[in-house]
């Protein structure tokens, strides 16, 4: 589609500089109703339609568990081991390929991974989950027992506190949107209320914190304020997007603490100990703390900040011919709902409001879009999200200001993608 075929833009329909188009124009043209676009003249003619082979003989047999089309074989999680071979096999990450997905739900097989000691192969019939510590009666549950409770269902994201770490490098790294920002996934989780189980165990008045621990070889453990469970929204998930949680996501059960650091959503959950104070585990002291320039470190920074990223166009999704494109991306906040996403095509000089749903979900991904008329000129695309608390996504410079060099946790800075005049796209710092 080229720009000459579209109705002219009135000045008020230029939403912001460098070709950003307001949603009003979109409504007026009624895309994709071609007639309203006046496209009947000057269109390129398609060839005669042939009948392909797959329409002339029966297809494949039924499948027990459906797989993506073989033509989608490149839609996979890019893997990043964090240690040389033989040193920390199983400690690493794989990224959700954000730029290859649409909508807001992350398919289970593409949901990012972060393991500290590999994926345990847990037999659900042997798995046990204990609640103990400062309680009247320590309890232990089997998976089967937990499945007898009423289910709570919630759609929320889980984001690794180290997400976007590549944008903490001094030089902008040339990686895809998913390879930079893909340590996040969004799913509908179903499971059991943690408050109810704690109530059954009878939390003593001194019980103020929970230590959640996994059954993996790292026995990943984190201290969690009890408020997140009692009168809060923490729960124990057994299902992800309708099916039982995958092994790499914590099968048979994981803790979900919506909006908080990924590593607190302890996978392979085997134990919650009620304690009076945090226990200061390795992953809330040595790691997942934020070193400042003054030598002090921020600790217990649970909530993931307001953030957004343009997934299309983005590196690997280069532009073709000049003309109309849809800028599209994802926005989220650990503090609640997204209330606004703005987009810039001129490196942050001018901004236009992107389209978001009227009702955005709390602590879950929101998809934003905005039409863009690309005339073949260089551009710098950026998105900036605001959440219901009024928090606005910072620039990279502002985000970095308090932190020491190489500090990489809770990176929620604005992403800038440079578009060259041949449509190539690269990661830039502005």
């Amino acid at each position: 589609m080229t720009s000459s075929k579209l109705p002219p833009l009135s000045t008020e329909e230029h939403a912001a500089g460098n070709g950003l188009v307001s949603r009003r124009w979109l409504l007026r043209t009624g895309l994709p109703a071609a007639s309203a676009l006046g496209l009947s003249s000057g269109l390129v003619h398609a060839k005669e339609l042939e009948v392909p082979d797959w329409s002339t003989s029966p297809g494949l047999d039924l499948t027990g568990y459906g797989q993506p089309s073989p033509f989608e074989s490149e839609v996979v999680r890019p893997k990043l081991p964090l240690f040389p071979e033989g040193i920390g096999d199983g400690s690493g990450v794989s990224f959700t390929p954000l730029e290859k997905l649409a909508g807001t739900i992350t398919p289970n097989g593409l949901f990012f991974e972060r393991h500290h000691s590999g994926i345990p192969e847990i037999d659900p019939a042997k798995h046990q989950f204990a609640i103990h510590g400062l309680v009247e009666r320590p309890l232990v549950f089997t998976v089967e027992a937990l499945l007898r409770y009423p289910m709570v269902t919630k759609t929320c994201f889980i984001e690794c506190a180290g997400n976007s770490l590549f944008n903490s490098f001094d030089e902008a790294q040339q990686r895809t949107a998913g390879e930079i920002h893909g340590l996040i996934g969004n799913a509908e989780w179903a499971g059991v209320s943690l408050a109810q189980l704690l109530d059954e165990a009878g939390v003593s008045p001194q019980g103020k914190w929970l230590v959640a621990e996994g059954a993996d070889a790292a026995k990943m453990s984190r201290s969690i304020p009890i408020e997140k469970a009692i009168n809060g929204d923490a729960f124990i998930a057994l299902y992800q997007n309708g099916e039982r949680i995958r092994p790499e996501q914590g099968y048979p059960m994981r803790l979900v603490v919506p909006g908080w650091q990924g590593s607190m959503n302890v996978k392979w959950l085997r134990r919650i100990k009620v304690v009076s104070a945090p226990v200061y585990t390795k992953d809330e002291t040595s790691k997942y703390t934020l070193l400042q320039k003054d030598g002090k470190s921020r600790q217990f920074t649970y909530e993931m900040g307001v953030k957004s990223v343009i997934t299309s166009p983005s590196p690997g999704k280069e532009l073709g011919a000049k003309g109309l494109y849809q800028i599209s991306g994802l926005a989220w906040s650990g503090a609640g709902r997204i209330t606004r996403v703005e987009v810039s095509a001129d490196g942050g000089v001018t901004w236009a409001d992107a389209m978001i749903p009227d009702q955005t979900p709390a602590r879950a991904l929101t998809r934003f879009q905005l039409p863009w008329q690309w005339g073949g000129q260089p551009a710098v695309l950026m998105s900036r999200a605001t959440d219901e608390t009024g928090a606005v996504q910072p620039t990279r410079e502002a985000w970095y200001e308090p932190y020491a060099a190489n500090q990489l946790f809770h990176q929620n800075a604005i992403q800038a993608w440079a578009v060259s005049n041949n449509g190539g796209i690269s990661n830039v710092y502005v």
């Binding site: 040193i87 103990h132 937990l146 070889a217 134990r271 040595s286």
Partner: protein, 177 residues
């Protein structure tokens, strides 16, 4: 009887049932004793509660270190492929800061907790409590935090003051931000 009357009777009956049953009667869990949970109860906080019996010194720890840890964390806790655990004390304000057990970790108890739960990487849980105390003594000694002959046990370990103990700012509760 009208539907609404039947409905309110049922509500009253249900309330009576839930009031008369203790919470435990509804639980699908089984009651377990803390002693039956002992093998799992491995969390050690700064107060040291839960530290096991046993003890170790850095001399003993040096042997365990070279057999069990040095391949991944370096000969003297430095320069290994899995990251430094020794050095960098006092470096946190500098752009070339080095985060290690000695320079960064606020509590000595975390070293015991973590090594016992997760190390050595390929065989966590394989060290005896004496060996873990010895390894912790070794790491604290090489970081110049405790003397060569200091004995680490359930009583002495929580008393060790780490160089960066006051280096953290808590962002919880959220209102502090």
């Amino acid at each position: 009887m009208s539907m609404s009357k039947l409905g309110s009777l049922l509500v009253v009956a249900a309330a009576a049932v839930s009031l008369s049953m203790p919470a435990l009667a509804q639980s699908q869990g089984k009651v377990v004793s803390e002693s039956d949970l002992a093998k799992w109860d491995i969390s050690i906080g700064p107060d040291g509660v839960g530290l096991p019996a046993g003890s170790g010194t850095s001399a003993k720890g040096a042997t365990v270190w070279s057999e069990q840890c040095s391949a991944c964390h370096g000969e003297n806790g430095k320069g290994g492929p899995a990251g430094d655990l020794v050095g960098g004390v006092g470096s946190l304000k500098s752009p070339e800061h080095i985060k290690t057990v000695g320079s960064f970790w606020p509590y000595s108890t975390t070293v015991f907790d973590y090594v016992r739960r997760a190390m050595p990487y390929n065989a966590p849980g394989s060290l005896s409590d004496d060996e873990v105390y010895a390894i912790v003594a070794y790491l604290l000694n090489r970081n110049k935090i405790i003397a060569d002959d200091a004995v680490m046990n359930a009583e002495s370990l929580p008393k060790v003051k780490m160089p960066n103990a006051d280096g953290f700012i808590s962002y919880w509760p959220l209102t502090k931000q």
